[in-house]
């Protein structure tokens, strides 16, 4: 057994060569040139072997593997997270404390590079989610990391809403304490999409605007939609079809439309009221097929009619 490990040790560098020659590099904003890429090549750090190479570099969370769709995709998420904070991430400030950290990785991360790419990445968030940004932006300080610190979601919400509650209790505001979701740090709203059995949750406080909400919806359901539509092996075409579905979520002209249910139980089109008003009254979101909308309108119209009859009647009686 031991022998195996020793021979394995010799073979290690091969396995760690994460720079496959045949793969196509993703186009990267602020991409690294050849020399820098060489520097990022990873090797196994042996004990005592690489002490002299260490730099007080900012060693951030993990994956420094190069070139993979995975990491760039994930990073897009990261950069979007910075802005939109999708899912249940709470926005956090910087890391804080001292960084001088010795590493035996032969991997150099440049602070300037990072911030440069971060800026460029931010500038790109308005584009589609599929755009490529450096994986490093995810790793840089200030980006919230999923699942860290390891606290369960309900503890995060409860803890921060407790503070609000104890303040509001003094004001005698009883209703607030029941709505756990109404705490500032994360307003999680359930969202379902027609034809997709799995529901998701979106953090409205992290979105901040309708446009970002639309991106968030696309991000949440794109893959589920693709999985549903998976009939061909042609990834690209499937990509396009799926993405098309999410165009024009808000103005009713696309394949799907975003609606919501407010605190009175009414179904409304998303986008009509100012964002803050929307956030305070929304209870649930739904992505409907636009073809179903007309039936929604009919229902709404009938409800309005009913209401006007009732009030109209009262008026007459007076």
């Amino acid at each position: 057994m031991e022998d195996d490990h020793e021979s394995m040790g010799d073979a290690c560098p091969q396995l760690l060569n994460l720079i496959p020659n045949e793969k196509v590099r993703e186009k990267r904003i602020g991409g690294l040139d050849a020399a820098e890429e060489k520097k990022l090549e990873l090797t196994l750090g042996l004990p005592g072997g690489v002490g002299e190479e260490e730099e007080p570099s900012v060693l951030s969370s993990c994956i420094f593997s190069k070139v993979s769709k995975t990491s760039s995709r994930r990073v897009v998420l990261g950069s979007e997270q910075q802005e939109a904070g999708l899912f249940q991430l709470q926005s956090r400030g910087g890391y804080g404390t001292e960084w001088p950290h010795k590493t035996t990785w032969n991997c150099e991360i440049f602070d300037e590079q990072q911030s440069l790419e971060k800026e460029k990445a931010l500038g790109d968030t308005e584009n589609e989610a599929g755009s490529n940004t450096s994986f490093q932006t995810r790793a840089s300080a200030g980006v919230a990391v999923v699942g860290w610190p390891p606290i369960r979601a309900f503890r995060k919400n409860l803890a921060s809403s407790s503070v609000k509650q104890s303040v509001e209790l003094q004001n005698g505001n009883i209703d607030e304490k029941v709505k756990v979701a109404s705490c500032k740090k994360g307003l999680l709203i359930k969202i379902n999409m027609d034809g997709i059995p799995i529901g998701r949750k979106v953090d409205l406080n992290a979105c901040g605007s309708y446009k970002k909400l639309s991106f968030a919806v696309e991000y949440l359901f794109l893959d589920l939609l693709r999985a549903q539509k998976e009939t061909s092996t042609n990834d690209l075409r499937m990509d396009e079809e799926a993405k098309q579905a999410f165009k024009s979520l808000l103005d009713g002209s696309g394949e799907y439309t975003l609606v919501y249910e407010d605190n009175e139980g009414d179904r409304m089109l998303v986008g009509d009221v100012p964002w803050d008003m929307f956030v305070s009254s929304v209870k649930r979101l739904r992505v409907l097929k636009s073809s179903d909308l007309s039936s929604l309108h009919d229902w709404e119209a009938r409800k309005e009619q009913q209401l006007s009859v009732e009030y109209g009647g009262e008026g007459l009686a007076n």
Partner: protein
């Protein structure tokens, strides 16, 4: 499963998978450590067809069964089943409680075929990192196939405990319909069900004793929104019930209080009641009056704002009298909504309290002190860090019997102020020498404090320290935290569970490997420098069963060091590390009975060579068929 011993009707390939798969240990499907016992058994078994045992042997087996009935500990049972074929059979016939640590390690059919007399099952599903959103939703661990197999095979089934499993309303209804003797249902961190399922259980299980929903995600509405929340509390039988424990803290929607009160009134055996936050303090008072025999109480709202109409203002002395009347209370929890000025109401109960969970409530050390000075018998204490080091000092001074402490952060972010630090930890260690288990979230820590704790609390079995700033070094010396954790593994010989954090190099893993002989569960995050760490771990820790790693620089080389050990483990989780697809395939190739799952957030992520999330576990069932598109099984 001791395959070598079970010759009847098993295929050749299954018999050969006995390597490393004894029935010792409590993980996977109760599989043990070394290959040796299984190999011995294999050579001992004749292969070929099984003759029915001669008469004297039959008598012996019956005697054996009667004796083995008394074995309750599953590790003892696993060991007994390895002795020889007749012991294996006898043990299988008499095992009443089956523990499945990983629901994908063995198929339901196989479990049911082996343990024909089982009455209780504990089943665990998703890996723990699912709690922190690291496992994409829809990954798996569904109860349905198990429910189907169990209902078909066990007419007299009594108890089910599920953890991190997706249970549907239909599953619950099936259980309720199929098991007339069903008595205990415990769902921990589960999801997929709603009030409809609960109603079915309440209505159809006439012998229900325990219904505990702990930290589960209970759906409020169905997918098709026309379904209302079901009033499941009203569905309990109208007669006197055998209910002993009812916990529904995690159910987010209000329950019908009148029905709840009536239920409590007609449940004379009720000892444990944990309500959700929608139960107001005056309602709680009425419940306590109905059930003065309660030993465990989970409080919903505990503030003045929740007065009922007509009840008038409830003040602290009123509540205090309620607590004085409940003389059997030993455990208080909940406090989902707390007005700290109400805390003194629990004074009468403090002296008897063995367990107190205040971890959902925000209050200061000053507010805690009057309570804690009376809690001399406290053994378990969960609290938020807002009590600060000062509050911890009060705990240390007064709770000499403290055995388990959990300090949760009120603000779980890396740059928050942090109320507790190394001095709180030292205070606890000095005051509570009997400490066995600690979970401590903080922003600042020193090696010296951790070393002190290791020396003052030698009985520690669980040490989980979470320094919330990633890779943060010792606050005073700016050194890595290696020495602190090293001291823990060196001095705490009974340590079975360890979670490390802060700035850590390969050295800490060397310490763990050399000294952590009993460590079974290890959680690693943002730690280590190189694959040497994994080399240490896999070559060193003989009892390592569960290893979860995130965001650490370990790659294929480290992974391959584990090839000698993976069959002894329940699982390995690695996320945001550096393994490649090639490395994982190599592992899968070498270990045919290991299921190696590469998980991405979406199917696209699986196309590259980099592996974002790796989850591997030994399994007798082979690759699972219910894997979603974002999971690739190698």
């Amino acid at each position: 499963m001791a395959e070598g011993g079970d010759g009847e009707g098993e295929e050749e390939e299954e018999r050969s998978c006995a390597l490393g798969f004894g029935t010792g240990g409590d993980d996977g499907a109760g599989c043990s450590g070394s290959p040796a016992p299984a190999a011995r058994m294999r050579s001992g078994s004749c292969g070929g067809k099984e003759q029915p045992p001669p008469f004297s042997e039959q008598v012996l087996e019956n005697v054996l069964e009667s004796v083995l009935e008394f074995l309750t500990c599953r590790r003892d049972r696993n060991a007994a089943s390895l002795v020889c074929r007749s012991w294996y059979r006898a043990e299988a016939q008499t095992r009443r409680e089956v523990f499945i640590g990983n629901c994908y390690a063995v198929s339901p059919g196989r479990t049911v075929a082996r343990f024909r007399s089982a009455r209780a099952m504990v089943l665990k599903g998703r890996p723990r990192f699912d709690d922190f959103n690291l496992v994409p939703p829809g990954w798996g661990a569904r109860f349905s196939p198990w429910a189907t197999a169990m209902t078909a095979a066990y007419p007299w089934f009594e108890r089910v405990c599920l953890k991190r499993i997706t249970v549907s309303d239909a599953d619950l209804a099936l259980l309720a319909r199929s098991f007339p003797s069903f008595r205990d249902l415990t769902l921990i961190c589960c999801d997929g069900f709603g009030t409809t399922g609960l109603a079915a259980v309440a209505e159809l299980c006439r012998n229900l004793r325990v219904l505990d929903l702990i930290e589960s995600d209970v759906e409020e509405e169905d997918e098709d929104e026309d379904e209302q929340v079901v009033d499941w509390i009203s569905r309990f039988p109208e007669t006197i019930t055998c209910l002993e424990s009812l916990s529904f803290e995690c159910v987010n929607c209000p329950v019908n209080f009148a029905a709840l009160e009536a239920l409590v009134a007609r449940s004379p055996s009720l000892r444990r009641l944990r309500v959700n936050e929608h139960v107001s303090v005056s309602q709680l008072r009425r419940l306590m009056e109905r059930a003065p025999q309660l030993t465990h109480l989970g409080i919903g709202s505990f503030d003045s704002g929740s007065a009922d109409a007509g009840a008038g203002d409830l003040d602290v002395t009123d509540m205090e009298s309620s607590f004085a009347a409940s003389k059997s209370l030993v455990c208080l929890s909940g406090f989902r909504v707390l007005d700290p000025t109400y805390l003194p109401a629990i004074f009468p109960a403090c002296a008897n309290l063995v367990s107190l969970n205040l971890s959902y409530a925000v209050f200061t050390a000053e507010q805690l002190k009057p309570v804690i000075v009376q809690c001399h018998n406290l053994q378990t204490f969960w609290v938020l860090d807002t009590i600060g080091d000062d509050g911890l000092r009060s705990v240390a001074t007064n709770c000499k019997k403290l055995s388990e402490l959990r300090v949760f952060p009120m603000d779980a972010s890396e740059d928050s102020e942090g109320f507790v630090s190394d001095s709180g930890l030292v205070a606890i260690s000095e005051g509570c020498p009997n400490l066995r288990s600690i979970l401590y979230f903080c922003q600042r820590m020193t090696n010296a404090a951790v070393v002190t704790m290791s020396k003052n609390c030698p009985d520690l079995a669980v040490f989980r320290l979470c320094i919330m700033g990633r890779r943060r070094p010792d606050r005073l010396t700016s050194q890595p935290m290696d020495e602190g954790f090293g001291a823990i593994v060196m001095n705490c010989k009974k340590l079975t569970r360890l979670a490390i954090s802060g700035l850590l190099t390969d050295r800490v893993f060397e310490y763990i490997a050399n000294h952590g002989r009993s460590v079974r569960t290890l959680s690693v995050a943002f730690s280590g420098d190189s694959d040497l760490s994994l080399k240490h771990l896999f070559q060193g820790c003989p009892n390592l069963k569960k290893l979860e790693i995130r965001d650490s620089p370990f790659g294929d080389a480290g992974l391959l060091f584990g090839v000698c050990h993976f069959y002894n483990m329940r699982f390995l989780w690695m996320s945001s590390c550096m393994p490649s697809l090639r490395g994982c395939k190599e592992v899968a190739r070498r270990l045919p009975h290991l299921v190696v799952e590469v998980i991405g957030d979406s199917p696209q992520d699986l196309h590259g060579d980099a592996v974002d999330k790796l989850y591997l576990y030994r399994s007798l069932a082979g690759p699972r068929e219910d894997a979603p598109p974002f999971v690739k099984i190698l």
